[in-house]
């Protein structure tokens, strides 16, 4: 029997296109008569546009138009208020778009944008989150539909009675997604219909958003996202560039290209909101946790409520009979926060896993042993059994691979010249999310099969893994399968986000291919059937059915750091992760996903932070020179391993998501290693040299 295609290290189907530069991204489609647009962000943090003086800009040779709330086409209702661009003079935050310059060339559009004179009536603004901020309130829900508050037992009583207590507050600055391809669109109107080549994580959603805005029926809109240069959450929801490009194209009657300038992204594509997290853990002398509270303070904008669900992992991770998990948020005059890789889990597990390390130190128990002692039999918050949970196995396997047993647990016990060396561990978790999808499979006239689904490959390897899933469901080698993704004219599918893409799309692909296989067998099983056979699948009602199980992926992160005792610079020497995330469907691209997440976690730990300037009401680090994402020299040997799980409560492929869990425990593992190296417990991210040095003395 042929080995299954899923699990094999199949190379990316579009790899050749990408390494030769022939893969086309959103503003790389050559359309005749293309014009260029350049957006203009507000330069006040709150207020109103009083006037837009466009005469100088419009006098430039090659100028085509200046759009603002004064003259921009009126849009229909938007589900997401960030898409209602240029509709009214109100400025809810700095960076909000107030105008758009359109010209024959990019150079002229940019010069026009610079030449616009905009008068504002500025109001006082309030942009800095503090722990006692008067605007903090408890929302109904946090992001993802999680209740803002959960309580069980008597936290206060149990905590007061605990033999050992940890009470620590962790703070994190805002972070920016910064995919390498900025948000970009080419919009093109033909016969009243709209085609947009757009950089996004799900073009079915973009199509559904654009149609009502422009008064169109959904079938009049096509959104193409054939290749997407990363998203990390920031392209998960439709973004203003698609609306602006379509507006401009309609206004000037020509195709319009619009790529957002890098330094504008922080204002308009979402960010990971800053958090202030208080963790209190009470345990007995053996380390059994009896009381756990995880309380989040964060910000949102005045445009919409987005609450980083950072306390949710504490509802899943450890035994905690008396627990309290809460979120409070303040609506400030800041850009709207949104999803960034592992929203909730990444910041929440940084805090929880740092606090667990503090508890281990307080108890003088090995941090792995402490986690093992608190591994719950059922999910603490819901009481549901886990569909599979191999956290302990990840920790043990990671310890073996990393050489944890040789560790001297005393802080500051290893020194090499100026370098203080330490190692740390942290757990990771990410929920199993899945959404209904449709897909179609058909036979090809010359033999072989074609699968059609509007999945999006933002770099995950979706195209490749779906071909593998299809091949196994059809019972054929993968090179008999053609796969079409990345266009909203294909069968509707949910977005690449929440580590749910492969599960959601794969489920529908699997169903469609199984049906097609049955049709082919009924028709006599011919390799090249005389007529085209076609099968469709819609997993609504199935993929989104409630489960009796708590379904989560787990993992363990290990880090070794060297801290320069003179400069406070922390360099990561080794990162190792072991994950239990169901069945891994492509070992090559899967490994890359884990490693990529860990690299972003390294950035979160040591480099990435965006300061809110209270005077200007703006993020101070808006470009790649000031906002530091990891570079090649920052990233050492990174190893990803996994325990292949056989979990029958997930989907037909047996997969959990893997796009996000790699980031989740990395920052805590590095912070815990930094404590081991130096004896310093830094409770803020990023752990930059200045912050470390202040404690080294």
């Amino acid at each position: 029997m042929r080995p299954p295609e899923t699990g094999a290290p199949l190379r990316r189907l579009e790899g050749q296109l990408k390494v030769t530069g022939s893969a086309r991204y959103a503003v790389e489609y050559a359309l005749p008569e293309t014009a260029y647009a350049w957006p203009v962000p507000a330069t006040v943090a709150r207020g109103e546009v009083r006037a837009v003086h466009a005469a100088d800009a419009l006098a430039m040779p090659g100028a085509l138009a200046v759009l603002s709330h004064e003259n921009a086409p009126r849009l229909g209702p938007a589900d997401d208020p960030i898409l209602s661009v240029l509709q009214d003079p109100h400025v809810p935050h700095r960076g909000w778009y107030v105008a758009l310059a359109v010209a024959e060339t990019l150079e002229v559009a940019r010069a026009m944008a610079a030449a616009l004179q905009i008068d504002y009536a500025a109001d006082a603004h309030d942009t800095v989150l503090t722990s006692g901020h008067p605007k903090l309130y408890e929302p109904e829900q946090a992001n993802g539909g999680h209740p803002a508050r959960r309580e069980s037992g008597d936290f206060d009583g149990a905590y007061a009675a605990s033999a050992v207590r940890v009470d620590a507050t962790y703070t994190m600055e805002a972070e920016h997604n910064h995919p390498m391809e900025p948000h970009a669109s080419t919009a093109h109107w033909v016969d009243g219909g709209l085609t947009v080549y757009d950089s996004n994580q799900g073009s079915t959603k973009v199509k559904q958003a654009l149609a009502p805005l422009f008064g169109l029926r959904p079938e009049q809109v096509t959104v193409v996202a054939e290749h997407v240069g990363g998203g990390f959450g920031s392209k998960g929801t439709p973004r203003p560039q698609a609306v602006l490009a379509a507006m401009a194209a309609r206004h000037v009657g020509r195709p319009v290209r619009l790529a957002l300038p890098r330094a504008q992204l922080a204002g308009v594509v979402g960010h990971r909101a800053p958090t202030i997290q208080r963790l209190r853990i009470g345990a007995d002398r053996q380390g059994r946790i009896d009381a756990l509270a995880h309380e989040i303070l964060t910000h949102t904008s005045t445009v919409k409520e987005f609450v980083e669900q950072a306390a949710t992992p504490s509802r899943t991770m450890y035994t905690s009979p008396n627990s309290r998990t809460t979120h409070h948020v303040a609506a400030l005059d800041v850009p709207s926060p949104s999803w960034m890789r592992a929203p909730g889990e990444a910041p929440g597990m940084y805090a929880l896993e740092s606090a667990m390390d503090e508890l281990a130190v307080a108890l003088d128990i090995d941090p792995i042993e402490l986690r093992v002692r608190n591994d719950p039999a059922v999910e603490p918050d819901t009481g549901k059994p886990f569909s599979s949970r191999h956290l302990v196995e990840c920790l043990r396997e990671g310890a073996r691979l990393f050489g944890w047993a040789d560790r001297d647990p005393r802080p500051r016990s290893r020194r090499e010249g100026r370098q203080l060396i330490g190692t740390g561990v942290a757990s990771a978790t990410y929920p199993v999310l899945v959404s209904p999808s449709t897909a179609e499979a058909c036979t090809e006239p010359g033999g072989g099969y074609r699968v059609r689904i509007n999945a999006t490959d933002i770099g995950t390897g979706a195209r490749t893994v779906l071909a593998q899933v299809a091949a196994d469901a059809l019972g054929v080698p993968v090179d008999h399968v053609l796969i079409d993704i990345g266009c909203s004219d294909l069968p509707a599918a949910p977005l690449a986000g929440g580590s749910s893409g492969t599960a959601s799309w794969g489920w529908a692909v699997h169903r469609a291919c199984r049906r097609l296989r049955a049709l082919v067998e009924e028709a006599g099983g011919d390799e090249v059937p005389s007529t085209t056979l076609r099968a469709f699948a819609d997993t609504a009602g199935e993929a989104d059915a409630a489960s009796d199980y708590a379904r989560h992926a787990f993992g363990a992160h290990f880090a070794e750091v060297a801290v320069d005792a003179d400069t406070g610079e922390t360099r990561v020497r080794r990162l190792l992760g072991v994950f239990a995330a169901g069945h891994i469907l492509n070992s090559r691209t899967g490994r890359s996903q884990f490693i990529g997440g860990m690299v972003m976690g390294l950035g979160m730990a040591l480099l990435e932070g965006s300061t809110m300037d209270p005077v200007f009401g703006d993020f101070a680090e808006r470009d790649l020179a000031s906002y530091h994402v990891p570079s090649c020299a920052d990233v050492p040997a990174v190893e990803a391993h996994w325990i292949d799980e056989d979990d029958r409560h997930l989907n037909p492929m047996g997969s959990k998501g893997i796009g996000e869990i790699g980031i989740v425990g990395t920052a805590a593992a590095i912070g815990n290693a930094l404590h081991h190296a130096t004896g310093v417990r830094l409770r803020e991210l990023p752990m930059t040299p200045d912050r470390v040095l202040a404690h080294l003395g």
Partner: protein, 189 residues
């Protein structure tokens, strides 16, 4: 309240003719003086292999080879590149045969979204030549310090640390660095 006055705009002749030789083919173009080589390639010649990640010389996505040397094409004005020999990622393969560096990126999964990849590939090719020509980097041991310091002017051995250092002008937000380094190690002498 302070008012910030913007400079008044003046209109003068703003374009010139240039010749760019791109992947062996000469192109005579009339370009705006503000046009970068990156925009000339992408917007005038439909060579969209070189990517725009930042337009500020901060990310390396736009890296091409100019006269064989790696260059951030977003920082080079087209009028300043008149007559230059430019090689983009599209010009590296030999017919259907990818360049060995492209092959190694495929073999080691040295990318995910692929947006930084054209820049990484061109940068790697330029970097291999620099090391072969004996250009030291920040992590090259100083001559006379023993421990593997190459004599001045002789090829610098490309250890993983050398590769990481020399490739740090090319950001990859997907975090493919370990695979990129493995790919380059494979083709390094």
């Amino acid at each position: 309240m302070a008012t910030i006055s913007k400079p008044t705009v003046q209109h003068r002749p703003t374009s010139s003719e240039v010749t760019l030789r791109v992947n062996g083919v000469s192109h005579r173009l009339t370009v705006d003086h503000r046009t970068t080589v990156l925009d000339a390639l992408r917007e005038h010649l439909d060579h969209t292999g070189p990517k725009k990640g930042c337009d500020h010389g901060q990310c390396g996505a736009c890296t091409v080879l100019v006269g064989g040397r790696r260059t951030n094409s977003c920082l080079l004005l087209a009028v300043a590149a008149d007559g230059e020999e430019i090689t983009t990622v599209e010009g590296l393969s030999d017919g259907e045969q990818p360049h060995p560096v492209q092959r190694a990126f495929l073999d080691h999964d040295g990318f995910q979204c692929g947006y930084c990849t054209p820049g990484q590939v061109c940068s790697a090719i330029g970097m291999l030549a620099e090391a072969a020509d004996g250009h030291p980097s920040h992590v090259t041991p100083l001559p006379g310090t023993g421990s593997g310091a190459p004599p001045p002017g002789s090829p610098v051995p490309l250890t993983p640390a050398e590769i990481r250092e020399r490739m740090s002008g090319n950001l990859c937000r997907c975090g493919a660095y370990p695979n990129i380094v493995a790919a380059i190690e494979e083709v390094a002498p």
